[in-house]
Amino acid sequence: MTDTTKKPEELLKLDYTPPKKGWMETPVDFKKGTYCYSAPQKHQEYLGLPYPRQWQPFDADWKLPENWKQIILEGMNDRLKKYRSFRLYMDICVRCGACADKCHFFIGTGDPKNMPVLRAELLRSVYRKYFTLGGKLFGKVGGARELTEDVLKEWYYYFYQCTECRRCSVFCPYGIDTCEITMMARDLLSLVGCNVGWVIEPASNCFRTGNHLGVPPHAFKDTLDFAIDEVEDLTGVKVEASVNRKGAELLFITPSADYFASPHWYTFLGYLMLFHEIGLDYTWSAYASEGGNFGLFHSAEMMKRLNAKMYAEAKRLGVKWILGGECGHMWRVVHQYMNTINGPADFLEEPVSPITGTKFENAKATKMVHICEFTADLIKNNKLKLDPSRNDHWKMTFHDSCNPARAMGLFEEPRYIIKNVCNNFYEMPENTIKEYTFCCGSGAGLGSDENLEMRLRGGLPRANAVKYVKEKHGVNLLTCICAIDRAVLPTLLQYWVPGVEVSGLHELVGNALVMKGEKERTTDMRGTPRKQEAK
C-alpha cells in the first residue's frame, strides 16, 4: 500500500443518497485508484485481439475504430442470438431492487451504478434502444438510450467494477445472473479493443507458457525442486514429485501463484506433502501449469482457448483423470463450462480415488475432482494421520471463495477438512458465508495496484465480517481455497483488520499431517514456532 492510499476513516464516509440528476445524466468519472489500466499493446497483439493500440481510460480520446458503434451493435445482435440467457436477462428484470444492496461494490461505494440492477441497466438501456420496439418508439421514457462514447466509457468503468461473484444472483427472484451480463459487456468492449491489462497480460502469458505468470518449463522444474528441498528441511522427508510424466494415474493442476507467490507457497508445500504421504501416482505438468483462467474475465472464446490445455495435456500424458487445486474461478470454468467448451473428455476415466476407492459421481462429466473433495474423502476413510494441535497457534475462520461456493456448492468439504486439521474454528455471520459469501473485492481481473481504492471498498463487507470474528473470538487467520483470495486478502485485511493473516487450506493440512519418517516439527511451515502464540 502506498502513502497516497486514503485512510479507512475516509473510505468509511459513505453516502448512499443517489445523485440529484438521473443516472443517464451522470457521466462516468475515472477517479484515480478506482479503475484498471488498459492492456499493453504487445499482449493484445500476442492474443490476436482486434484493434490493438495504446490508450488509457483517463485519455479523452480512446482511439476507437471509426465504425465502433456498428461493431458493438452487431456484436450485441450476434450474442443475443447465440446466448438465450443474455436475451432473457435483458428482458425480464422487473426492477424489484432485491439485488440493490447485495453487491459489495455498492456497499463499499454508495454509487448507485454499482447496484446490480443498475449495472445491468447500463447495457439493457442500449439493448432497448436498438433491439426492442418499446425502446425504439419511446426512447428515454421507455428506459432506452443511444450508444455513445460516454456510454462505452461507462461500461468500461462499471463492468470492470464487478467481480462476477454472483452474490446478487442469489437474491434475484428471477435468478438474473449479473455476472453473465458483465461477461457479455466485457466481450463487447473487447471487440473494439477496450481491454484491461490485468486480464490480458496473464491471458497472454498463459497462451505463451501455459500459466498466468509466464513461468517457463525450466523455471517450473527448478521451483518444484526447491519446494521438495524445503519440505525436506521442514519435515525430514524427501517427497517425490514428477513433471510431465507419461503414464501417471493422475494429473494435478493448480494456479501458478501457488508455486510463485506468498502465502500461496505453503499450500503448494501442503499438496506435495499430502500426495507423497498417500503414495499418489500423479504428475505435475509444465504446460498445464495453471488452474486459473483469466480468459473467463474476458470472453467465452478466450476462456475456451486457455482451458483447452487441461484436456490436451491429460490426453498426451495418458492419465486417468485430473485433480485440481485450490483455485476459485478455475472451478467456475471447470464445473460450468469445460465439458461443453472443451469436452467431452471421453479419453479419461470416471474419477475414482486410488486410495479409498470412492467414486466421484459429481465429476463424471468433467473428469476433474476438487482437491477438497479428494482430501475430505481421505480423512473420512481414515487414510491420514492428523495432529490438529499443530495448528493451535491459529484461531481461524473460513472464507468461502465465490466460485467454489456459488458455482459448485462446495460448502461442507472444506469445513470438514478444517475441523479435522485444527481445533479453533469460528464461522463468520451466516449471511456472509456459503452461498451468501462476500467477495474479496479483487477477483475477475480487478486485482491491480492502480485499482486499490476500489478493491478496498469492494472488500469492505468481507473484511467487516472478519473483524466481527476477530473481536468476538480472537481470530488471527483466515483460510480460503482460492489463489486470488490468497493474493489480495492479505492487503485487504491489513487495511481493515490488521492482525489477521491469510492461508490456503492445504497449508493447514500440511501442518497437521503426521508423515511417516518425519522429524519432530518445531515450527509450522511458515517457520512460526509451534508452541509460541502467533503474532
Binding site: T2, Y37, P40, Q54, Q56, G197, W198, E201, P202, N205, N211, H212, L213, G214, V215, P216, H218, A219, D222, T223, F226, E230, P255, S256, A257, Y259, F260, A261, S262, H264, W265, G292, F294, C327, G447, S448, D449, E450, A483, I484, R486, A487
Partner: protein, 106 residues
C-alpha cells in the same frame, strides 16, 4: 507508452514505472528506479544482493523468482524485504531489477 529519463537515457515505462526495455537496464538505471522504491539511497549491500539475485534469475529463467525462493536463498525474512522495498518483492524489488510487473493471482 510513456517515457522517462533514467541514468540519462530515455526509457519506455508502463503506467507503474516498470521499464519496458529490459536491455537498457544498468546499475545506474536501478539506482534511479530505487529513488522511489528503496528505503535508503544509494541502496545498501543487502538491497543490491536482492536486486542482483532477481536480475540473475530473470536472465536465466525469463521470469521473477518465487517469493519464498528469493527470501530463503538470500536468507532474508519477507518482512525484511518489505523493509528494504516497501512495496514488496514484486512491485518494489522486481521493478528496480528491471523486470516486467508480475500479474495474475499475485
Amino acid at each position: 507508452m510513456p517515457k522517462t529519463k533514467l541514468a540519462g537515457m530515455e526509457i519506455e515505462i508502463d503506467e507503474d514505472g516498470f521499464i519496458q526495455e529490459p536491455d537498457k537496464w544498468s546499475k545506474e538505471v536501478a539506482e534511479d528506479l530505487a529513488k522511489e522504491e528503496s528505503s535508503v539511497h544509494p541502496m545498501s549491500e543487502d538491497h543490491w544482493r536482492l536486486v542482483n539475485y532477481i536480475r540473475d534469475y530473470y536472465i536465466k529463467f525469463g521470469v521473477a523468482p518465487p517469493v519464498r525462493m528469493l527470501c530463503k536463498q538470500n536468507k532474508f525474512e519477507l518482512k525484511y524485504v518489505y523493509e528494504m522495498f516497501p512495496k514488496g518483492p514484486a512491485a518494489g524489488a522486481c521493478k528496480v531489477a528491471g523486470l516486467p510487473k508480475p500479474t495474475g493471482c499475485v
